[in-house]
Amino acid sequence: MTLKIRLARFGRRNAPFYNIVVAHARTARNSKPLEVIGTYDPKPRADAYDDSGRLHKEINLDSIRAKYWIGVGAQPTDSMWRLLSMVGIMEPKYRDTKPRKPLELPPDAKEFATNI
């Protein structure tokens, strides 16, 4: 069965907290995984005594195990891909972060669109 590296939501209402887990794709989100390889706290926090307004997010990750599981075919979910690409374990999936322009349509298609 497909192995996934994914997030399992714990925490409370309005206070999410994720375990980074390796689990079979078809198992329930919060079921017992094969392995917990880290945590992800999505709540942005400020440093103590820092009034600059700069916030950070904290992630614990066993990068050795993450690399191993990817080596044996585990597939990170999109959100996990994004995190793993930050530490250089995966190639970034979405490089271009600029908003996309609408596709340039061929001239006859434009004509077709106006005739409708």
Partner: protein, 365 residues
Amino acid sequence: MAGPPRSRDTVSGFLDFASRRNKKFGVRVVGVKEGIAYPALLPSSCQDRTNLISSRFSLRAQLSQPWTTQSRTYMARHRRDFIKWTRGPGKLLKEPRPDQTNYLETKDSKGNMLKRPFPLNPEFKSEAVLDDKAREMIWEEVMRKGKTIKQVSAELGVDITRVAAIVRLKEVEKDWISKGKKLATPYCKAILSMVPTKSFKSAEQQNVPFEPINELHIHASTMKQIFWPTSESRHFTRADAAKAFHKDMLPADERVPHPELLQMEKSLLEGKSVWEAKAEFMDAAEKSERNAAERQMRRAMAEDSATRKFNTERFEFRFKEFNSEDVGRDGRRKKAVGWKYGMPSYDRMKGAIKIPTKVPQIGWS
């Protein structure tokens, strides 16, 4: 006309009132009820009552006030006595006495005058607090003169943690003043005028210590009773006693907040001069504080170097390395990160204290 039940006094009062009204209007009502004439054959007490009833009906329209009287307020004897007391000896306690305490004054069994907030509770003692002048002085000593917290603590006899807290809060206060924030000065003044306060002359002069500063905190490992067989010839020291309790336990001389003060006393016993011993103490206190600061710095730097940081436009992502194999046999080791499977989380347990017990240090994340 079912009115509220009346007490005897009220009824008699009513009778008087009714008869007076009758005289006034020149009406003689005898045995008349709702327009029916009765012969005056009833006994006198009953006649009175009839009189009352009939007059009530006949005079009802003429009287402006309603036919109820206020019930008498119930006041227990204790309350009456208390009100009497507040007008007598308790009068002094109504307003606070300026710049001194205004506690109840009673005598104990030996006739000594007691001044306590609650005279019957001997355990409740109102401890003195440092007044603003003293706190300002502590801040001056630490921040302006650059003395270490330990030195100031030893000189004035104020607990280390209290000195640190005063400096921290004074910094906040000064920050607020510089930002033009409003302080709760009247509140502070009012409280300080009502509680016993302690002030210092100056740091150079000999001051009466504010509180005991070198008390040994009771460690849980020392609470057990141990029978430790040892030979009589052996010189069993406090260090040995500490080792008997736990292999990592420090001797009591090192666990106290001011081990340097103990060393100073030892030097004095050895015959060193007071100035020499004091200079030694000042050096040792400074050194210990510098060591603590360096330790903290090293810890922060080690943590910083172990963290990989990735900046995005909005947030900084901080990755810390963690060993997922060091989580115990069942993955539920306390040190292991993340939420545990099949284990209750006590974060919502009743009575759990969530007030932080530590002040975050710079460099902690």
